[in-house]
């Protein structure tokens, strides 16, 4: 099935939040923000508790009183909202992505989630001082001649509770008209009703899905939507005019991985055409060494860390390069069978594997960033050149 022939699914699925908290903790200094009122208004049965701005110790204490599985924390963010993606070391190529930091954590429960080892806040947190975020964006995006690829799906899933927060609509209001930036919403959910129903200009907003092998989806991705569901949602978004991004990250090495990933690639192109896809990123599984214990503690049944992992140049555990190369070559070949021109890039990979897989490698992070910028029509308009993508 291609994007022109998508069968409509019941809309309820797309307007359902993956997260339905029974308690909402509201930081006292955040209680007057409009977003608090609208979120609480959508949770009429939830208990609302106002708390003083918590320290790390308070958060631990609060997590004993209120289960992080069923509690949403609404807070004011005091730091910068726009940040460089944390993977910017020069040892591996990074695309110089910018993160719009509007929330923390999600309840999907992927066993491999690296956030398990990073976050010291146990609660799914939504920052509510959006006026500060947009003011910061105004200041930053005013820099002449600079182009930004901005995403909200690094420290959380961009859409998993969008029906509660209504954030996608607010972001589209801002980025739909923005001339020198594109927004990428990354998700494993199908909560896309706000995107489909958005009445205004969506600009070049990218909706991206993280994809994996069906077996990994079933075993390791908690209650994320099934691969077919994600791709059906992607096709619907494409119909509405969004550009679609796909992310194979983390790519895992497990018995039978070829057949499984082949199946996912076939599913992609049963739902989408190559031209519908702005980019596909690939990144083999990697994690900070200390995450291994946390991961085993939270997901005792998983064996994804029991592979041939070596210490990478950035200190992270990653598959031995021969394994990565085999995974990459296979996946790229499979994708190219359906879409020879789609732009594929590696997330945090070394130039040898770039060269080995694609026959070319970005000289540095700037060049990789430039390749991705060139995939965006807005970038082309900004720079006054023809849109040629980065095939």
């Amino acid at each position: 099935m291609n994007s022109a022939a998508v069968v409509s699914l019941p809309p309820a699925k797309y307007s359902r939040s993956l997260f339905r908290p029974t308690t909402v903790l509201v930081e006292d200094e955040a209680s007057d923000y409009p977003l608090v009122e609208s979120i609480v208004g959508r949770l009429p049965n939830a208990e609302v508790v106002v708390v003083k701005r918590p320290t790390s110790a308070d958060l631990v204490r609060l997590s004993q009183e209120f289960s992080p599985l069923t509690t949403l924390f609404l807070a004011r963010h005091r730091g910068r909202f726009l940040k460089a993606c944390p993977g910017t070391a020069e040892t591996y190529r990074c695309c110089l992505y910018q993160i719009l930091h509007l929330g923390l954590g999600c309840n999907i429960g992927c066993s491999y989630c690296v956030l398990q080892g990073y976050l010291n806040n146990p609660f799914i947190t939504q920052f509510v001082n959006l006026d500060d975020a947009f003011a910061e964006l105004d200041r930053e995006l005013a820099r002449p001649g600079t182009f930004y690829r901005i995403g909200t799906g690094e420290f959380t899933d961009s859409l998993f509770m969008d029906p509660l927060t209504g954030l996608a609509t607010l972001l589209l209001d801002y980025f739909g008209r923005c001339q020198n930036a594109v927004l990428e919403l990354k998700t494993k959910s199908v909560a896309i009703s706000a995107l489909l129903d958005y009445p205004g200009e969506i600009g070049e907003t990218i909706v991206s899905w993280s994809l994996n092998a069906p077996r990994i989806c079933a075993k390791e991705e908690g209650h994320a939507a099934a691969i077919e569901e994600r791709l059906t949602a992607a096709a619907l978004c494409r119909q509405r005019g969004y550009r679609i991004g796909l992310h194979f990250d983390p790519l895992l090495d497990f018995p039978g991985w070829e057949d499984e990933y082949r199946q996912t690639v076939a599913s992609i192109f049963a739902h989408l055409k190559g031209d519908d896809i702005i980019w596909i990123s690939i990144g083999a599984f990697r994690f900070m060494p200390q995450v291994k214990d946390v991961l085993k503690e939270n997901h005792p049944q998983t064996n994804i860390t029991a592979g041939e992992f070596i210490r990478g140049l950035d200190g992270k555990q990653r598959y031995f390069s021969t394994i990565r190369r085999r995974l990459y070559r296979f996946l790229v070949t499979e994708i190219r069978r359906y879409a020879p021109n789609v732009f594929i890039y590696f997330c945090m990979e070394d130039q040898y594997l770039w060269q080995d897989t694609f026959g070319r490698a970005p000289a540095d992070n700037q060049e990789l960033g430039h390749w991705l910028d060139k995939c965006c029509y807005r970038y082309m308009r900004l720079k006054g050149t023809e849109a040629e993508g980065a095939k």
Partner: protein
């Protein structure tokens, strides 16, 4: 302490088996033995009446030393502090803080105190007062670790108390069966594996067991057999290499291939060529030594004559 009076008691009247206040486990410090042997008991232990004699609240190590000395001297009457009309909780608290004031608890003691506290206090009190005092983080992994240690065999607990096994190793073996842990103790005893290497070995066994879905017991028997030297003793380095090769087959193959590749280039003989660690990244390192300018010039000439194709071949990723 209003409800504590100093009195005499006989060692035979003390219930050494009672573990209501499990604040000490492990070998007796030699310094304590020497001190008591030389100067006698300076600080009386704290006891409380129990079903089978006096329970030791505080001072188990001092009493054990005295018992040892009494075997030689025959003197078994000692001065003690006896608690009366003090709640179990209060005695536990006093003993905990008195011990904490003078020393760190070992892993077995920490685990035993946590488990004993669970029987005496409410969960809330344990989490808010006891666990922070013992520096046990409020996470399931650490609670599980304590409960596991309390259920370990005495042999394993002795190794833990002596510091021969660390907490990370406990996390890995806590799900193992008693037989599997017993086989591991045998391996430690036979091979003399030290703490850090033991952690590495157990980590690899755990990874292999999870990856290949086989029991650590089976694996242990396998690698143990393969690591025997000619005299039938376990060679620790061979054991580690065996495990590494099994867990990292492709990396091991890459190393072997790299070594074999070097054989093809006789000009490499005077040099040592090191690949990047685990072949990650592209930085190869060539090592050589020289004693004077003449030797330096000879080496430079030799290197300048190397064909670039040879370099590409040597640095090729397998």
């Amino acid at each position: 302490m209003n409800n504590v009076r100093t009195d005499h008691c006989f060692l035979a009247d003390i219930d050494f088996a009672d573990r209501t206040f499990p604040f000490s486990y492990g070998a007796l410090p030699a310094r304590l033995e020497k001190s008591i042997a030389t100067a006698g008991l300076l600080q009386p232990p704290l006891l409380v009446a129990g079903k089978n004699g006096f329970r030791i609240v505080c001072g188990w190590r001092r009493l054990e030393v005295l018992r040892k000395l009494a075997d030689e001297s025959g003197e078994d009457e000692i001065l003690v502090n006896l608690a009366k009309n003090i709640s179990l909780q209060e005695l536990f608290r006093r003993a905990l803080w008195e011990n904490l004031a003078i020393r760190e608890f070992n892993l077995v003691e920490t685990a035993d105190i946590y488990c004993a506290a669970l029987k005496i206090f409410t969960l809330d009190e344990v989490e808010k007062k006891i666990m922070p005092a013992l520096k046990i983080p409020l996470r399931p992994r650490f609670r599980g670790r304590c409960q596991a240690i309390s259920g370990f065999s005495q042999e394993l607990r002795d190794l833990l108390a002596a510091g021969s096994v660390d907490a990370e190793t406990v996390d890995l073996i806590k799900e193992w069966s008693a037989d599997e842990r017993s086989a591991l103790i045998d391996l430690v005893t036979e091979s003399g594996l030290r703490r850090n290497k033991l952690r590495e070995v157990v980590g690899r066994l755990d990874d292999l067991a999870r990856r290949d879905q086989i029991s650590p017991f089976e694996l242990l028997a396998d690698v143990r057999q393969a690591a025997l030297d000619e005299a039938g003793n376990i060679d620790v380095e061979l054991l580690r290499r065996q495990l590494k090769a099994r867990l990292y087959p492709q990396l091991t193959a890459a190393h072997l291939e790299f070594v074999a590749r070097q054989e093809k280039f006789p000009w490499l003989k005077p040099f040592r060529l090191d690949p990047p660690p685990d072949f990650e990244g592209g930085d190869y390192r060539l090592n050589f030594t020289f004693t004077d300018s003449k030797e330096w010039e000879e080496i430079c000439a030799q290197l300048n004559a190397v064909a670039l194709e040879d370099i590409d071949e040597l640095c090729r990723r397998s």
